[in-house]
């Protein structure tokens, strides 16, 4: 991998003026009568790998949508580097450096891998419709510069042979990788991954785990992970938050969470006397 991606890491490692990179404070979200999130708080620090786990319907994806401002919570606050994100539009959270992948792949199926990744670069590019349509020197230069960055990401994710395919035609595992690439192309400081290994076989899962660790390690990007694969989460997460029915039930290191009685209860149910 050439310098362009790593360069950003050096820029990021300066002194910082904020306490936490992302801070979610006492968020409540209800759809009419249904309480999706009931008082969740957590924070993610620079370069950290923070995982959120919980049974189906616990409100994990809703939390992502709150951070992205797709949903507006009735109560609570989301702070990015100390500044509130409330009231922003989703595209403005992207501009600030929050990237995301989706549980059910949400790539742009008719566009090629390169075009998908370049769309990820959208927030880091400047060419207007006017400059773009006349292909002035600056627009052309920017296209080629960003193509180089995109090619770095393609190398990083080992998807070279697919680069000119429309992503709709690619196998599922590769699409998941392209989606990670599109998020990386946004040059984020926080990467939110919604079930990155759902539906993958063991080998694909291991590949993905390696990429996630590399993102955290080599690129220094903080990762917020939602995942059902407990083996993966326990292996790679620094800290874990467990939610159930929209409520936080435990938070801590993988070891402490594993032995928490509340977590055992949520996942395995309560012991019942058998006659």
């Amino acid at each position: 991998m050439s310098g362009k991606l790593l360069q950003r890491r050096a820029e990021r490692s300066g002194p910082k003026s904020y306490e936490h990179l992302l801070e979610v404070k006492d968020v409540h979200l209800a759809f009419k009568g249904v309480k999706a999130i009931a008082g969740v708080s957590f924070h993610v620090d620079d370069g950290e790998l923070f995982a959120i786990i919980g049974p189906n319907g616990a409100g994990k994806t809703s939390l992502f949508n709150v951070v992205n401002q797709v949903y507006e919570p009735q109560q609570g606050d989301v702070r990015w580097k100390g500044e509130s994100l409330m009231g922003l539009k989703p595209n403005q959270t992207a501009e600030r450096g929050i990237a995301r992948t989706f549980q059910n792949i949400a790539l742009f199926p008719h566009m090629t891998v390169i075009e998908n990744l370049l769309t990820g670069r959208h927030v880091r590019m400047r060419t207007s419709w006017l400059a773009g349509s006349v292909w002035l020197g600056k627009a052309k230069r920017e296209e080629i510069e960003n193509r180089e960055i995109v090619e770095d990401i393609i190398d990083f994710l080992e998807i070279e042979q697919w680069r000119k395919y429309p992503v709709g035609l690619l196998p599922y595992g590769i699409q998941k990788r392209v989606e990670l690439g599109r998020a990386l192309a946004m040059d984020p400081e926080l990467l939110m991954l919604d079930e990155p290994v759902a539906g993958m076989n063991l080998e694909e899962t291991e590949d993905m785990a390696r990429f996630i660790l590399d993102v955290q390690d080599e690129l220094g990007i903080a990762v917020l992970l939602v995942e059902h694969d407990m083996g993966l989460v326990m292996d790679i997460a620094d800290r874990i938050l467990v939610v159930d029915f929209g409520k936080p039930i435990a938070e801590g290191t993988p070891q402490s969470v594993q032995h928490n009685p509340n977590v055992v209860k949520a996942y395995l149910g309560e012991e019942v006397e058998t006659v």
């Binding site: 769309t119 060419t127 349509s133 080629i144 180089e148």
Partner: protein, 411 residues
Amino acid sequence: MRGRPLLYTSYQADQALLNTTTKKVMLGLLLLVVATIPFQVIPGLDFLGSDDWLRLLSTTAIFVVGALGLNLLTGLAGQVSLGHAFFMGVGAYTAVWLGGPEDAPLLGLGLPIWIWLPAAGIVAALIGVAVGPTAVRVRGLYLAIVTLGLVFIGDYVFRNWDSLSGGAQVGRDFPPLQFRLWKEEEPLIDFTTPGTWFGVEVSGLAKSFFLLVTIAVVFTLLAKNLQRTRVGRAFMSIRDRDIAAEIMGVDEFGYKLLAFGISSFFAGISGALLASFVVRVIPERWDLFLSVQFIAIILIGGAGTVTGAILGSAFVVLLPRLVGDFTQWLQSVALGEGFGSAIANVFVATTPNDFGLVNTFAGIGPGLSVAQLNLVIYGLLIIGFLIFEPLGLYGIWLRIRNYWKGWPFTY
């Protein structure tokens, strides 16, 4: 370095518009053919230089500009609009207000083409952006209905604003394709009368043809460049998955509005050129049928591709002529003798009251007129392409190209 075809050694070469030698050669040949059409020098293609074919080809060039606009909105940004005719009408009437002669009661300021042509696009774009916020709140079928409303509002306004449009069924003359510096009597360049260019005799139609083709080429380049840069990708991302696009940082509302504006700009220019080329246009010209024609162009040509917009325009503009010629030929067969004449007789009427699927005798007897037959064929083609070849003519071309790429080997 010169390597095998499709071997690129720089991103610049890979991203070039004409990234293969074949494309360069073919485009060069095409331009050469287009440039020589009015002079009727290429045997076999000399019929294209006749007046009626030149008129059709010029109309195609005008339609290409409009189709590229709708392609940006519908093909790239995925917003199905039936309001294209309205924006073309706005462009045409802006042109006539600014460029028409100063004779009351008709509105006209007598300004030159370098004012009225860009203004036609700009005014249409401004109106597009003004009605955009209402339109971009809805999507899919609902957007189609909202934009359909525009056509009817426009139709009403154009038919009743007599001082602008000349009145329903009457119309007025539009400013001709003449280049003046200001309001002088003799135009600097007149694209409508015969003359000599660089020592070569050129007819008025040929001059218009060259002007319109040049404009179409310029707009093709603009559309193609827009499509392959940041804004074009933002449009496509909204088309493919709008919520994901927003989370990737694409301002959905803003870009939909922009797509509306740019598309309307193209429509305005196209409308002004069409009216100017046809000279006298009635307000009913800008009706729903024109919008449907553009939707047909996009779908038949191939949605979301610049080549498709061009192929589709040629197809839709030339189809009535081909159908007309075919009907005429059938009629001549039917009037002849033998088995063929019996079959042809079923399809075409030979006398006003004769039965035939197509009846060229206006308004009497059973059967469709040639114009109605055209509508039926558009309809069938749209259905056929949607079901069998969603990428349209461009998709067929891709298939042919990919077949020959490997020929004579399978891979």
